[in-house]
């Protein structure tokens, strides 16, 4: 089954839409779903032109396609457990929160908290991701716990904060403090970043671009070789964060940082 949701023009296009109902599973029972536009509850067809093609008996046979002005639509794919979502353009905050299985593709940019507290499944964002990509929720000790989150562009600040498990791969650059409070899992930054892994206590972070302002509380260990896109790359290894009894590993491409 393919469900296409194309946005209708809105009178107040800046007001966010909260659309946690948009997950493949829910469309098995039709399209009679509701979302919030600001403080008003709306039926799905007030916001979207909806087309449904083909049948499905289980959620993994459902593909949801979002088109149009989707940059303000939040929580798409929240608690998703099967199937596919494809966003043709940009997507709003909290896309894929708590997702446990299935696949989300964002062809444009994703706003903040992409894949927050993700448990499993896969998210691929072709554009840039905002702040707190693959991060946790306020006050919660554990962030993303599983799955795979890949961003082909850049990511913002606080990337993979509280990462506990799974894998986050950023092809471009990131902002400040990627991997801050990281406890487990794997974070790969192919571009440059600032102050990686502050207060990390576990897990592994690899940076292939430049590191700016490396924190003083990382203990340098011996160099190591890793495979990066088929090349053998020499990496400086750091252990930390010693400010916090940390047992994490930060690997930075040799020679690229002062």
């Amino acid at each position: 089954m393919r469900v296409t949701l194309e946005t209708k023009p809105r009178k107040k296009p800046n007001i966010p839409i909260e659309a946690e109902s948009i997950i493949p599973h829910n469309f098995l029972r039709g399209t009679d779903l509701s979302v919030y536009e600001g403080n008003k509850q709306r039926s799905l067809d007030e916001i979207f032109f909806i087309t449904v093609e083909g049948p499905a008996v289980s959620p993994d046979q459902v593909e949801v396609i979002l088109k149009g002005d989707t940059g303000r639509i939040k929580r798409v794919g929240e608690y998703m457990n099967a199937g596919k979502i494809v966003v043709e353009g940009d997507i709003g905050m909290h896309c894929g929160n708590f997702m446990s299985a299935g696949q989300i593709t964002v062809r444009g940019n994703a706003d903040a908290w992409l894949g927050r507290e993700m448990r499993g499944g896969e998210i691929v964002c072709h554009g840039n991701a905002g702040h707190y990509c693959g991060a946790g929720y306020r006050g919660e000790k554990r962030g993303m716990r599983g799955g795979r989150l890949e961003v082909l562009g850049n990511a913002g600040d606080f990337l993979a904060e509280y990462l506990c498990g799974g894998e986050v791969i950023i092809h471009g650059d990131t902002g400040d403090l990627p991997g801050v409070e990281m406890r487990g899992g794997k974070l790969v930054i192919e571009g440059s970043c600032t102050r990686p892994c502050g207060n990390m206590s576990g897990g592994t972070c690899l940076v292939f671009g430049q590191v700016h302002d490396l924190l003083p509380t990382f203990e340098k260990r011996e160099r190591t070789q890793v495979d990066f896109r088929g090349m053998n790359v020499t990496m400086d290894t750091y252990h930390g964060d010693v400010a916090n009894r940390g047992k994490g590993s930060l690997l930075v491409r040799s020679g690229d940082h002062a």
Partner: protein, 427 residues
């Protein structure tokens, strides 16, 4: 007539030992207050009546009309923002939160551009703190980090820290060591025993370094950190660890600079580490006299100290998403009620632009920058002068402010309750 033990409603120190002399409905003299208190009590700059925009002009309107207009604007909105609250008493804040519940609004207080990051840090690691008297009576080491009390909290040092004699410190000024960390040499820095001049945006690294030293891992550190010699850091760590009772106070130098709440988190974790060696506490230097009260009231009603979004009926909190600056930046809200604060002066210009675009209502005794952005302003009594109510000091101690003169202005609670009652009928 002289009134004693008056509570000053300016900053988070909430000094309650002012002596205010009143003649008729005028305050003619203030004793014990700082410059800020004197100016506040002696001010005579009130907006006289409610005012309403009529195209490009302003006109005076009656209170009832103003209240009807305000309620109408809020009821029409799909994403109203209720902002401010730190400059009013707890009873008014309570009505504000209940109003937000009914409206499905976002309610936020000035923490958002002040100590919001401190709250976010506390939500990650907690807060080893104490009341100010505990510091006054016991602390032999005081740290001001990114804070400048001489300008922002003029009596903080004389009432609670550096100059305040306490039970276990009979000659405080001699017996206490003061450490100041800042990016510039402020007046406060001038009186410090140790002044650490940190590079802008490098507090986080410096705090991590101190934590490492306290943990016995100083050997990992390079010779200088953030422009500071390692020797000085070791010396400062040593002063802190050998304190009998240390008290750190931090200000906007940590909350507003790069890394934001992660700086505070690091400072709190340093404090926790120090507690393995001695007694150490940490406290934010809260700005508005009742900003902490707004956090308290919001919390017991909604569960969250600021930035609460009721759009979906339940309370949702996520700074960066439900905070005022972000909502204004993204042009989300379609009406705004401002109570007891001045976003026109204290928000980035681009946020002010959106406030001017939408119907903004202000409830405030004075003409301020936000007045020019508003469609409607309702003047009210000033809590602590012609209205009374509850306030929470920066350390959480609740104090009832006094009313020292009588005027005809309604209080914030009275105006808000009238708006609330209309909203209640309509929802």
């Amino acid at each position: 007539m002289k009134i004693e033990d008056v509570v000053c409603t300016f900053c988070g120190c909430l000094c309650d030992d002012l002596v205010v002399e009143v003649e008729g409905d005028m305050v003619v003299n203030v004793e014990n207050g700082c410059t800020l208190a004197n100016k506040k009590f002696m001010g005579n700059n009130r907006l006289k009546t409610p005012i309403k925009r009529d195209g490009g002009n302003w006109k005076k309107v009656g209170l009832d009309e103003a209240i009807q207009t305000a309620a109408g604007i809020l009821l029409d909105a799909d994403r109203p923002l209720l902002y401010g609250w730190s400059g009013t008493h707890g009873e008014a804040q309570t009505i504000g939160v209940h109003m937000a519940e009914l409206l499905g609004a976002v309610i936020d207080n000035t923490s958002t551009v002040c100590h919001g990051p401190s709250i976010m840090a506390i939500q990650e690691v907690g807060h080893p703190g104490c009341t100010l008297g505990q510091v006054k009576n016991r602390a032999d080491v005081i740290v001001y980090w990114g804070a400048n009390p001489i300008e922002a909290h003029p009596r903080h040092m004389s009432r609670y820290t550096t100059y305040a004699d306490g039970f276990f410190l009979k000659e405080a000024f001699r017996e206490r060591k003061v450490i100041v960390v800042d990016i510039r040499k402020t007046e406060t820095a001038n009186i410090a025993d140790e002044f650490i001049m940190v590079e802008p945006g490098a507090d986080y690294a410096l705090l991590s370094a101190l934590r490492a030293i306290v943990r016995g891992k100083g050997d990992v550190l390079p010779r200088t950190v953030a422009g500071v010699e390692k020797e000085q850091l070791i010396r400062v760590a040593d002063i802190c660890m050998s304190a009998k009772f240390g008290a750190m106070f931090f200000g906007l130098g940590l909350t507003m600079s790069r890394g934001k709440y992660k700086n505070i988190r690091n400072a709190i974790e340093l404090t926790e580490e120090l507690n393995r060696h001695t007694k150490f506490t940490i406290s934010p230097m809260r700005g508005h006299w009742n900003v902490y009260g707004s956090n308290e009231v919001f919390t017991w009603i909604t569960g969250y100290p600021f930035a609460v979004d009721f759009a979906r009926g339940i309370a949702f909190y996520n700074p960066g998403e439900t905070t005022s600056v972000d909502i204004l930046k993204r042009g989300e809200c379609d009406a705004c009620l401002v109570v007891g604060s001045d976003p026109g002066a204290h928000f980035p210009g681009d946020c002010c632009r959106h406030l001017a675009d939408i119907p903004t209502i202000q409830i405030d005794p004075h003409v301020n920058a936000t007045t020019h952005l508003s469609r409607l302003q309702i003047p009210v009594a000033v809590t602590g002068i012609d209205a009374e109510g509850t306030a929470y000091r920066m350390d959480g101690v609740p104090i009832r402010t006094r009313k020292v003169i009588d005027t005809t202005y309604p209080s914030d609670s009275e105006v808000l309750d009238k708006i609330y009652q209309i909203i209640r009928k309509e929802t």
